[in-house]
Structure formats: structure tokens, C-alpha cells
């Protein structure tokens, strides 16, 4: 595709090719060769065989009155227990057929069952269709629908009866908001698409469905605004998803790793969000969303560097305070990456850069510390990461223990025992807190923090400067779905700066981001400033 591919990537793609050769053919579902039969029993036998007599496959056979000829028609409902809604099955399918419409059925000759008749007159369910083939029927069954075979009918109905348990809509845990909407996505794909549709009541909102994963067969929905998103972008996203050939897709992170432009980069070039309102805003900017069944996180592409510094709250609050907060976030990002490195560089290379009284205080604090400043800082950064990692997945009550132990050991005992100096504890604490401000960047920040700590410890401020230069070049070189990762800073676009480092008033952001939306650019036409009278 591009000849700019990195060395690492070429090596990795080599590994991938070998892996494919080795495992090709393994894990694929059996080719479906079965076909429908006119006989009910044969159909049922086939389906039980295909499910290997699995316990959760339920088959409900029943007869319904055949009227004057006194001959019962017979049918079978096949569904997966727990996926289909039993109420729909009994109330809307079995009951009408067995009792409700006896009078009408009496005129039908069951030797020649008319499925069209059944569909239009007797099944009191919203979604009823014919299965295209046996596989279609089976897949519907696996998705939670119910299929119905009729004796004497070569084929089956798919009846929409999905009724599996799903989580209730809850406020997002990871992207909290004070003033914005509280709803967040859940694991169910259909609920998620509905959440989006409810916010954008527009025929231009498109969902394109596909299925990924040989074994898991996970439904995926690519969502975009037909009148805004660039067609090339949409097609590229679809192409990349289609080219994924894997066993399983368990969460959105799986898809993300396969469709990234630079899989080896520590910066993620695909975004994700848990909030329908954020997704809608991104769609309306011309981005493409990827909703994956089974994950409450929806991927968005392309992803830019500056998006990590935007929050949902930004657009519901006053633009001046948001701008200040944005600047703080950029500052916190800088601190969380560079603070330990700069501390070490200053204390071991550039003592002349520290104000005299601060120098005296710091050197007094470091007096008697057995380690060099670099090892001291490295130790503390590692200890902090261990504490963080230990605390993340622990149940709440034990998590508190960790934080108490951490605070006591790190903050108090280590200092009073003379293992680490108090100024360093302050620096590490500041670094750690800053790291949480831009939470989307926590992974790259951690890596960069270590890299810069080593550079600062071995080469001082010069090392940090060289490292920063390489980092910036690398960032400017990254791409995300045909766009520069640093857009709109590199390449620079003045108009798009309104929502990058600063956040201009909404009524000034009259156009969609230039880099994304190729058509339908203007998004508002209110007077500036809005008179509001």
C-alpha cells in the first residue's frame, strides 16, 4: 500500500504470513451443505445434529387445528434457550396458531400449507421473514431469534423473538460528565444503534452491518453520516474490517488492533468512546463509528492527537473556562511525560538552572539518600505503576488497602527512612496526578515517561530535547485513515484551531473540521454573536 512502512511492520507482516500458512483451514465453521426438507422430522433431525445435541437448543413441537378435515397441522419452533423471549413464543406464536384463529385456519388445506398465509394472517410478531437457506436460519437462531418449521413446507420462518438479558443503560464510568447526557453504550449492538439513532433523527445516518470472527461471528455495525462523511473514508474503514480474518472478536480492542494504520506505534490511531453523544458529535464531524456487539466502547476513526484532550463536557460549558481547562490538560500531559526526567536532569546535570534557595532546600532533602537521583526516580516511577496496576482491577475494599499501604510506604516511610527524598515524592505525585488528567493517553504516557527518564538521567536536558524532537517528528509522521495524526496542527489549518488547543464559542465554529468533512461543510447559520433577545 505504502512504501513508508516501517521495518518492524514488515517483519511483523512476515510473521503474520507464516502464521496464516500454518493455521489455514483450522477453526473455520463447517461448510453448510444441509438443505431444507419438506418433512418436519427431517428438518428437526438436521438442526439437532448441527447443534451436536447441545442442551440449550430447544425444540417445541405443536399441532394446530386443521378445521373440517380434522387433521392437525404440525409445526416446530426452534430457539436457543435464554436468547429468545419465551413470552413472545407462547403468546404471539403458539397461542394464536393453536386456538386464536381456528376459524380462518379451517379453510386452509394443510396438505398444501400456504406460508404466505401464515405470515400475513397468523403470526402476531413484528419481524417475520423466510430464511434464505438453512445457514441463514441457524444464524438467526444463534442471534436469539426463533425459527419455525412447518410440516410440508420446505423452508422455515425466522421470527424475531430476541429476548436475552442485557444490562440497563447506566451513566458512563470512564467518561464522566456533569452537565452532559448520562447515558452510555451497553454491550448490545441493537441498543447501541438505537441510542445513536435517537440522537440523530435523520435518514442520512447509516448503519452498515458486517460479521467478523470465524468462531465468534460478531456482528459489527459501521455507522456514518451519509451526507457528511467522506466516501473514501467509509469505504476504507469497511475494507479494513472486511479484511480481518480472525477466530474471535471479543471486544472493540480486537478490531482496533487490526485496523490501525500503525499497529506498532504506542499512540492509538483509532479512538473510542462510551458515550452516544460523543459518538454523534464525531459522526457529525465526518468521522466513522464502528459499533461492535458485545462491547460498550464504540470505535471512531480517524483519530487525531488533539481529540484526546477534548471531553464531552467541553461543549456544554462556557468556552473561556473550557479553553483554560484545555490548556491545563496539555500542561498536565507535558508534566506527566517530562516531570521526572526534568527533575533528574536538573538535579544531576543542570544545578545552575535551579533557583539558589530551592537548590539549597533540595540538596538538604537529598542529603543522605543512598541512591543517585536517577535510580531514585526510576524506583519511584516503577513503584507507582505497580501500585496503580495493583489497584485497578481489585475489588473496592481491597483497593483501599492498597492505597493506604501505597500512601504510607511511598509517601511517609520511604522519606523518613531516607530511601527517597521528599522533593522527588512531590514530583512523582504531581506526575501521577497529571497522568490521570488525560486518561486516554495513559498507555503512551507511561512508556514515554520511562524513555524520557532514561534520556534525562543519562544525557540531561540535552537528551530530553533530542528525545522530544524524535517524539514530535514521529507524531507528525503518524497517520490515521489517510489523515495526519497531528491534524490540524500538522498540517496547520487555522480554521480548525477553533477546537484544538482552545475551544472557540460554538457559534463561531461555523464549519465542520476542514480536514474531515469534504462535503456539506457549513453546519450553522446563526448570527454571530447570537443576539439571544
Amino acid at each position: 500500500m505504502k512504501n513508508r512502512r516501517g521495518l518492524l511492520r514488515r517483519v511483523l507482516s512476515g510473521i503474520k504470513l507464516k502464521a496464516e500458512r500454518k493455521y489455514s483451514g483450522i477453526g473455520q465453521p463447517e461448510e453448510m451443505t444441509e438443505d431444507f426438507s419438506k418433512k418436519l422430522n427431517e428438518n428437526i433431525d438436521t438442526i439437532t445434529r448441527l447443534f451436536h445435541q447441545s442442551e440449550d437448543l430447544k425444540i417445541r413441537r405443536f399441532d394446530f387445528p386443521a378445521g373440517t378435515e380434522k387433521k392437525a397441522g404440525s409445526a416446530a419452533l426452534v430457539y436457543v434457550d435464554g436468547l429468545a423471549d419465551g413470552k413472545i413464543l407462547s403468546r404471539d406464536i403458539v397461542e394464536p396458531l393453536m386456538y386464536g384463529f381456528g376459524g380462518e385456519i379451517s379453510e386452509i388445506n394443510y396438505r398444501k400449507v400456504d406460508p404466505q398465509m401464515l405470515k400475513s394472517k397468523m403470526l402476531a410478531v413484528g419481524d417475520v421473514r423466510y430464511a434464505k437457506d438453512f445457514e441463514d436460519g441457524i444464524f438467526a437462531c444463534l442471534m436469539g431469534d426463533c425459527i419455525m418449521f412447518l410440516d410440508g413446507f420446505c423452508g422455515c420462518f425466522i421470527i424475531g423473538a430476541r429476548g436475552y438479558d442485557k444490562r440497563a443503560l447506566k451513566p458512563s464510568d470512564t467518561e464522566m460528565s456533569v452537565r452532559g447526557p448520562k447515558e452510555s453504550f451497553i454491550e448490545n449492538l441493537r441498543t447501541n444503534t438505537a441510542l445513536v439513532r435517537r440522537r440523530i433523527k435523520n435518514t442520512d445516518l447509516c448503519f452498515d452491518n458486517m460479521v467478523v470472527g470465524r468462531q465468534t461471528r460478531t456482528p459489527i455495525s459501521v455507522v456514518y453520516m451519509h451526507n457528511v462523511a467522506d466516501e473514501k473514508l467509509v469505504n476504507e474503514v469497511k475494507r479494513r474490517i472486511r479484511s480481518i480474518d480472525v477466530d474471535s472478536v471479543v471486544s472493540s480492542g480486537y478490531i482496533e488492533q487490526y485496523i490501525e494504520d500503525e499497529p506498532t506505534s504506542m499512540f492509538s490511531t483509532v479512538g473510542y468512546t462510551e458515550r452516544p453523544d460523543v459518538l454523534c458529535a464525531k459522526l457529525l464531524e465526518g468521522r466513522v463509528g464502528i459499533i461492535i456487539d458485545g462491547t460498550p466502547y464504540v470505535l471512531t476513526a480517524p483519530q487525531f492527537f488533539s481529540e484526546n484532550f477534548q471531553t464531552a463536557e467541553d461543549y456544554s460549558s462556557n468556552f473561556i473556562s473550557v479553553t483554560i481547562l484545555r490548556l491545563l490538560r496539555y500542561g498536565a500531559f507535558f508534566v506527566s511525560v517530562f516531570a521526572p526526567a526534568i527533575y533528574v536532569a536538573l538535579t544531576t546535570f543542570h544545578q545552575e538552572m535551579i533557583p539558589t534557595s530551592l537548590l539549597l532546600t533540595m540538596s538538604a532533602a537529598r542529603e543522605g539518600i543512598p541512591f543517585s537521583a536517577f535510580f531514585e526516580a526510576l524506583f519511584m516511577v516503577i513503584v507507582f505503576e505497580i501500585l496503580k496496576e495493583a489497584g485497578v482491577r481489585l475489588p473496592q475494599p481491597i483497593g483501599q488497602t492498597i492505597s493506604i499501604v501505597g500512601a504510607l510506604v511511598m509517601g511517609e516511610a520511604a522519606v523518613s527512612a531516607g530511601f527517597v527524598s521528599a522533593p522527588l515524592v512531590i514530583v512523582i505525585a504531581f506526575t501521577a496526578v497529571s497522568g490521570f488528567v488525560v486518561s486516554a493517553f495513559s498507555a503512551p504516557v507511561l512508556i514515554l515517561r520511562f524513555i524520557f527518564l532514561f534520556l534525562g538521567g543519562f544525557m540531561g536536558g540535552y537528551g530530553i530535547a533530542v528525545g522530544a524532537l524524535i517524539l514530535f517528528v514521529r507524531l507528525a509522521d503518524l497517520e490515521s485513515f489517510g489523515h495526519r495524526y497531528m491534524t490540524p496542527i500538522v498540517p496547520f489549518n487555522l480554521s480548525d484551531q477553533k477546537d484544538t488547543v482552545i475551544r472557540a464559542p460554538l457559534w463561531l465554529m461555523r464549519t465542520r473540521p476542514h480536514s474531515l468533512a469534504k462535503k456539506n461543510r457549513v453546519r450553522e447559520n446563526t448570527p454571530v454573536p447570537p443576539d439571544g433577545k
Binding site: L359, L360, A364, G461, V466
Partner: protein
């Protein structure tokens, strides 16, 4: 193509990392932070060597209130004798386990004997050449021996050198002394027709109540012709020189007339000087001072503050300023140098004239005509608009 690029990048990184000077990693525990240096003539006959230098080093002692009240001294001192500062500082490695680190040096104090007799040229050479020494390090002259100065007791800071530096920086409040750093001194000392001024420091004699506490006192200025100290200006004379050099920031001017005592506080002053020299070799300087001041004290005047009074205060305080300037002129005539830097103005404005008269400048300076135009504007009278009329004041008189 890719391989070539890879090699190129690797080369650039290697060169960038290895060919730089950032190699001297040192921990806090490797360095002794020098806070002040004093230089004196070595008067110990037995050595027979040129100078004696003592270095004040800040000890890494915690001064936080929660600390266990460490008994350790806040600073330590090392001294040695030798021919030049560098040699002595190096020989201090025999005395100090940590390497002396000069970047945070606050002040260098020269003994007046050294400054008057030998000049401080060779010492300045080291201070300017050494890469750790900052050009912003302050300089001062001790009235007697410099090494005594840094032994003074401190009031606010923990290290005497630091307190002395703060004290000198604070001189702008009344402009009775000067602030002079390394760079200033070199610029004045090397420019034709200029004179460098350095603050004079002494230990104030202890009064009975002070429990023999030795305090610094910064007062007046030492005048340097090149690198040799030629004399001292008093507090008033120093300010006289500073008015013309346009270095006065703030200060108090006192004046009394017709039974009225007034003090005004200068909050802004700007001086414009024009120096010219005529064909006969007679120089003339026109000095115009624009001074903005507030009334700081007023007594002996009955009635409200008015324009007449304002004008009188302007005139009489202007006279006080004139006197300071003329005193400075007289003092500098005796020392044989140009404290106003008039020569330098001619050198800059008319280099040809300077090359003609420069050799004879001191004579011309002594005979020159200085016309002063002191313009004092009283801007504010403070919260009182007149004198406070106390009951029974008339009877007392």
C-alpha cells in the same frame, strides 16, 4: 533506500549523542555550593604569596520547622592562600570532600587593601573565564578585610553571603549605594571614559543592645579606575553620581526652608545628559533630571498644601540634589576619575573628539562646566494635606 535512510538516522543519533558536552553528571552530594568568595591581600609574611581567598559554602541542612532542629552549621568556610583564585580554589580540594560548585555564587567581596594596591584585574580574569561563574554575581568591596565580612551574623537568611547579596540588591530603595555585578564592572571598567562603582560593605560596630551581634552595613561606593580602586564616595556623593548616571530608582530627598522641613520620596527619576566639547577643549555637560516624587514628611507648615508650597519644595529639594551632584564631582576630582561617565558619552557621541581629548580627559573633566536642571514634580501629598496641628503647639514655641 530504506537501508540508507536507516543508517543515516543511526549516524545522526550517534553523533548527536556523543559529540556534545553534556557529560558531567554530578549528584547534589558531589558538590559544595559556593555562596560567597572573599579575596584579600595575604598578610601572612611566612607564605609570601599574593592573595588569600576564603570560600563560603552552604551546607545541605534542612531548615524546615518540622526538622529535628539540626545542630549543624548552615555554612562552612574554607580558606587558603596562593597566587590566584583558581589555584586556591583547586587547592581547597585538599580541604573539602566535595567539589566547589560556583554557579550559585552570590557575591565576591574584595578587601579594600587588595583593590587599592594591586587592583583586581587578575582575579576578574578568573571570574570571567570560569564557565561556572555567572556574570550576574554581585561584587563588593570590604572596608577592611573581606574575610571578616562573611563572618557576620545573619538575620534572615541562613548563609551570610546570601544575606549580603539580598542587602545589596535592596539598595535601590534609597540609592545610597550601588549594585554592581560582574558584567557591569567589566563594562564600566573597560569602556573609555567610564568609572565602575562597587558597594562598600563593612561590619557595623555592635551596640550594647545587640549582644555583640555583627551586622553588615552597605553604604557608599568604591570608585574604580579600571581595576584599581581609587577612593570612596559617601552615601550622598554616591547618589549624586547615580543621579547623573540615571541609576536612581527611588530615594528620599530632604529639604528645609523658612521653618518648614520636608522630605520627598522619589518614585521615578529619569536623567538626560548632553555633553559637548568645544574647539578649545572646554567641555560642557547639560544634565536634566526629571524626578517624580511624593511628599513623605512635612512639618512646620501651617495651612493646606498648595501650589506655592509645592513649588518651594521642588526648588529646595532640587538644590539638595544639585548639592549631591556637585559633591560627587568634587570628590571625584580628587580621586582623578570621572564618576559621571561624561567621557564615555563623548566617546560614544563623538569618537573623533575623544581620540583628540581622551588622553587629557581628566583635566578637562575637572575644569568642565556642568549645568544642572533638576525638575522635581510632586505628584502626591499622601493621606494628609497639611501639617497636623496638635493642641498646644503654639505654647511650646
Amino acid at each position: 533506500m530504506l537501508k540508507k535512510r536507516f543508517i543515516l538516522i543511526a549516524l545522526v543519533i550517534t553523533v548527536a549523542i556523543t559529540f556534545t558536552g553534556c557529560w558531567d553528571q554530578r549528584e547534589f552530594s558531589d558538590i559544595a555550593v559556593v555562596m560567597g568568595i572573599t579575596v584579600d591581600v595575604n598578610d601572612e609574611e611566612s607564605y609570601g604569596k599574593g592573595i588569600s581567598v576564603s570560600v563560603q559554602v552552604a551546607n545541605p541542612v534542612s531548615h524546615t520547622s518540622s526538622g529535628q532542629g539540626s545542630s549543624q552549621e548552615s555554612y562552612s568556610e574554607f580558606s587558603d592562600t596562593g597566587n590566584n583564585i583558581f589555584e586556591i580554589l583547586r587547592s581547597i580540594t585538599h580541604l573539602s570532600s566535595r567539589r566547589l560548585y560556583n554557579s550559585h555564587n552570590q557575591i565576591v567581596v574584595f578587601g579594600s587593601e587588595l583593590a587599592e594596591k594591586q587592583g583586581i584585574g587578575s582575579e576578574m580574569d578568573f571570574l570571567l573565564r570560569d564557565n561556572e561563574m555567572r556574570y550576574s554575581v554581585l561584587l563588593a568591596v570590604a572596608e577592611e578585610k573581606a574575610s571578616d565580612i562573611l563572618a557576620a551574623d545573619t538575620n534572615y537568611e541562613h548563609v551570610p553571603a546570601q544575606e549580603l547579596a539580598e542587602l545589596i540588591k535592596n539598595q535601590a530603595v534609597n540609592s545610597g549605594s550601588v549594585e554592581c555585578n560582574l558584567l557591569d564592572f567589566v563594562l564600566y571598567g573597560t569602556s573609555p571614559g567610564s568609572t565602575a562603582l562597587m558597594p562598600v560593605v563593612k561590619i557595623k560596630e555592635a551596640s550594647e543592645s545587640d549582644n555583640d551581634k555583627k551586622n553588615f552595613e552597605v553604604n557608599g561606593a568604591a570608585v574604580f579606575n579600571g581595576d584599581i580602586m581609587v577612593g570612596k564616595l559617601t552615601e550622598r556623593e554616591t547618589r549624586g553620581a547615580l543621579w547623573v548616571r540615571d541609576k536612581v530608582e527611588r530615594g528620599i530627598i530632604e529639604c528645609s526652608f523658612e521653618g518648614v522641613d520636608a522630605e520627598i520620596e522619589v518614585f521615578s527619576a529619569k536623567t538626560f545628559v548632553e555633553v559637548s566639547i568645544n574647539g578649545a577643549g572646554k567641555a560642557k555637560a547639560v544634565v536634566r533630571c526629571e524626578i517624580y516624587a511624593n511628599i513623605a514628611g512635612l512639618s512646620g507648615y501651617e495651612g493646606l498644601f498648595n501650589e506655592e508650597l509645592e513649588e518651594k519644595i521642588s526648588i529646595y529639594s532640587g538644590k539638595a540634589v544639585e548639592k549631591e551632584i556637585f559633591d560627587a564631582w568634587e570628590a571625584s576630582k580628587k580621586m582623578g576619575c570621572d564618576v559621571f561617565c561624561f567621557g564615555n558619552m563623548i566617546y560614544k557621541k563623538a569618537p573623533k573628539d575623544w581620540s583628540k581629548y581622551g588622553d587629557n580627559w581628566q583635566q578637562i573633566y575637572n575644569d568642565m562646566e556642568i549645568s544642572l536642571n533638576i525638575d522635581i514634580n510632586v505628584e502626591d501629598v499622601g493621606d494628609l494635606t497639611g501639617d497636623v496641628a496638635w493642641k498646644g503647639a503654639a505654647e511650646k514655641q
